[in-house]
């Protein structure tokens, strides 16, 4: 269980976190220490224990009614950018001809 800088940078992309160089350095060190401490858990690999999964009891089901918990404030009151009823943000580059971005629809 260890993690190098390349992996950290890959995970940063996956997690959509921008970090500066100092942060990356420090994070790599921290993560290595933490994962090192977690090594102990490998001792459990023998024995074929099934993992704890979803809660065993049954999920409650709700009736198909239009009874949403109402919003006490309009949506736009919290929106960073809003126009004509829409949340706005800079145009997704995957839809743009000029910009290269590794951000693609899922």
């Amino acid at each position: 269980m260890t993690i190098d800088r390349t992996t950290i940078e890959k995970v940063m992309k996956l997690a959509r976190l921008e970090l500066d160089d100092t942060e990356i350095e420090r994070l790599t060190r921290d993560c290595q220490a933490i994962l090192g401490y977690f090594e102990v858990i490998r001792e459990l690999d023998r024995g074929g224990v099934p993992p704890a999964g979803a809660l065993e009891r049954a999920a409650p089901l709700r009736e198909d009614l239009a009874d949403a918990d109402p919003l006490e404030r309009p949506v736009e009151a919290m929106a960073p950018e809003w126009r004509d009823g829409y949340f706005l943000l800079p145009r997704l580059a995957a839809m743009d001809a000029e910009v290269e971005e590794d951000d693609a629809a899922g």
């Binding site: 009891r57 999920a59 409650p60 709700r62 706005l88 943000l89 839809m95 693609a104």
Partner: protein, 484 residues
């Protein structure tokens, strides 16, 4: 599409259908198409801090219904999972879906008599429930992406087929059949324009008849049945030309461009998706209530292909007629009601296929809402059969009933559309016809007896179809045989 250069396409489909519920999958927001943006939202479907999902039981029931109709094995216990990825219209940064323990697995859809379309049955790998995302609009505001979350959280069933389709045409036929079935089941509206039915495809090609595994590509953005067929034809041909040219197909996602009629690799070399699935900790196991599966099974309507078989077997209808009459539950139900009331399936079938469907298309209404009760149409059929109405007259009666809700008797009465068999009235028309056609009268009297049909036609036209054909023939014969 037949194998080209000795290759055959191998196609699997991944279909998303919106389940027909009143509220969303995990919250009580109303489901509605076309509402003003961001008006059908709440803490849950906006992904607000602290909000939690609660499963819509009706959505589960509809998914079970679809799964059973597709002969899937429905699991008593299944598990929701989070599919993690970032996208502006995915409010929580993950979609609640199902992953390694889906609701249903291992079904099939019968695809009879499609000839070149491939093997008879298409196997269904799995069916699971999940939530829809919102919509991102990239062209509405310059330089901005606009997000509308009304659709976020609408319940979906995802249906994944095995790669059993061997041509673009077969894929189209399969999708048509699936849509018909889901509409029958009232599980979904399956409206591709409104996005309640969406389809992606996996395409690869291989030497015909072999079972070699080859690289597949994923094709997205096919927004109609014909675009699906065109896109798959294009993509299969692209694979074949690459492979037969000695190249290798790259594993990638292709975006179909209907305007240009071509599929292009999705831009930006998307980082290989890593969805980091894990069990959704906000939802316990999805456990189906005891008896739900058998109750849903018992309540399943007869499916289109079962109906076709019964219509040919029981009513002796030709296969084509049976298909037309089973196209929707509306038409099939109407036909059966008319056939039952009239006691004549053949006549009912003709009337529904021709007159009722014409009126339905013309008015854009389901046949059941045309305002002609099945009993009334049956009565009309009876009146034709016992000679009270000519079929021309009966058709007029039918079209006058459409949209008015009037009965046969009312229409005949109010419009004066009785059959005329009184010889006095008939003689007036005959007299007029004979006077305006003296040459034909002379030729008839000289022995050209086949002109009788001509005179019958002329009188019929004059009577606007009201003349009783049998009585007319009698009176006409005697009038023509009389010397002046």
């Amino acid at each position: 599409m037949t194998a080209s250069n000795g290759y055959e396409p191998v196609i699997g489909l991944e279909i998303h259908v919106q389940l027909k519920t009143a509220s969303k999958m995990f919250c009580g927001c109303r489901v509605e198409f076309g509402a003003p943006p961001n008006t059908l939202v709440c803490p849950v479907c906006l992904g607000l801090p602290g909000a939690l999902p609660v499963v819509n039981g009706r959505a589960i029931e509809l998914a079970v219904r679809a799964a059973l109709a597709l002969s899937c094995e429905v699991r008593d216990r299944s598990v929701f999972a989070r599919k993690n990825y970032f996208y502006p219209d995915l409010p929580k940064g993950y979609q609640i879906s199902q992953y390694d323990r889906p609701l249903a697995v291992g079904g099939s859809l019968e695809m009879p008599g499609e000839g070149e379309s491939g093997p008879g049955d298409v196997r269904i790998r799995r069916l699971h429930v999940e939530e829809d995302s919102g919509k991102s609009l990239h062209d509405r505001f310059a330089g901005r992406t606009a997000v509308d979350l009304n659709r976020a959280g609408v319940p979906l069933a995802e249906i994944v087929t095995e790669p059993d389709l061997r041509s673009a045409g077969a894929a189209r036929a399969f999708l048509g059949r699936l849509r018909q079935a889901l509409e029958y089941l009232e599980v979904s509206d399956c409206n591709m324009e409104e996005g309640s039915l969406r389809v992606d495809a996996n395409v690869s090609v291989r030497p015909a008849g072999s079972d070699v595994l080859t690289t597949k590509t994923e094709v997205k953005n096919m927004n109609s049945f014909s675009q699906l067929e065109k896109a798959l034809e294009f993509e299969a041909a692209r694979h074949i030309s690459i492979i037969s040219g000695g190249g290798t197909v790259e594993h990638e996602t292709m975006l179909w461009d209907p305007a240009r009629g071509e599929a292009r690799p999705m831009r930006g070399k998307e980082e290989v998706h890593d969805y980091r699935y894990f069990p959704e900790p906000d939802l316990p196991t999805l456990e189906l209530e005891k008896g739900l599966v058998s109750r849903v099974k018992d309540g399943l309507p007869e499916l289109p292909w079962q109906k076709v078989r019964r219509f040919t077997d029981v009513y002796g209808l030709p296969a084509y007629d049976a298909e037309v009459l089973s196209a929707t539950r509306d038409v099939a139900g109407y036909f059966e009601a008319v056939a039952g009331a009239a006691g004549d399936a053949k006549a009912a079938s003709n009337w529904v296929m021709v007159e009722a469907l014409a009126a339905s298309n013309e008015r854009g209404l389901p046949v059941a809402e045309l305002g002609v009760e099945p009993e009334q149409l049956a009565e009309l059929i009876g009146l034709v059969k016992d000679g009270t109405l000519s079929s021309t007259l009966a058709k007029q009666v039918f079209h006058k009933m459409v949209g008015t809700g009037r009965t046969v008797a009312q229409v005949i009465d109010e419009e004066g559309l009785r059959k005329v068999s009184d010889s006095g009235e008939l003689e007036v028309w005959i007299e007029e016809v004979m006077q305006s056609n003296p040459a034909e009268v002379a030729r008839y009297r000289d022995g050209e007896e086949k002109l009788l049909t001509f005179f019958i036609g002329q009188v019929m036209r004059k009577s606007k179809g009201a003349a009783d054909p049998d009585r007319l023939r009698e009176v006409l014969l005697s009038a023509l045989s009389e010397a002046d």
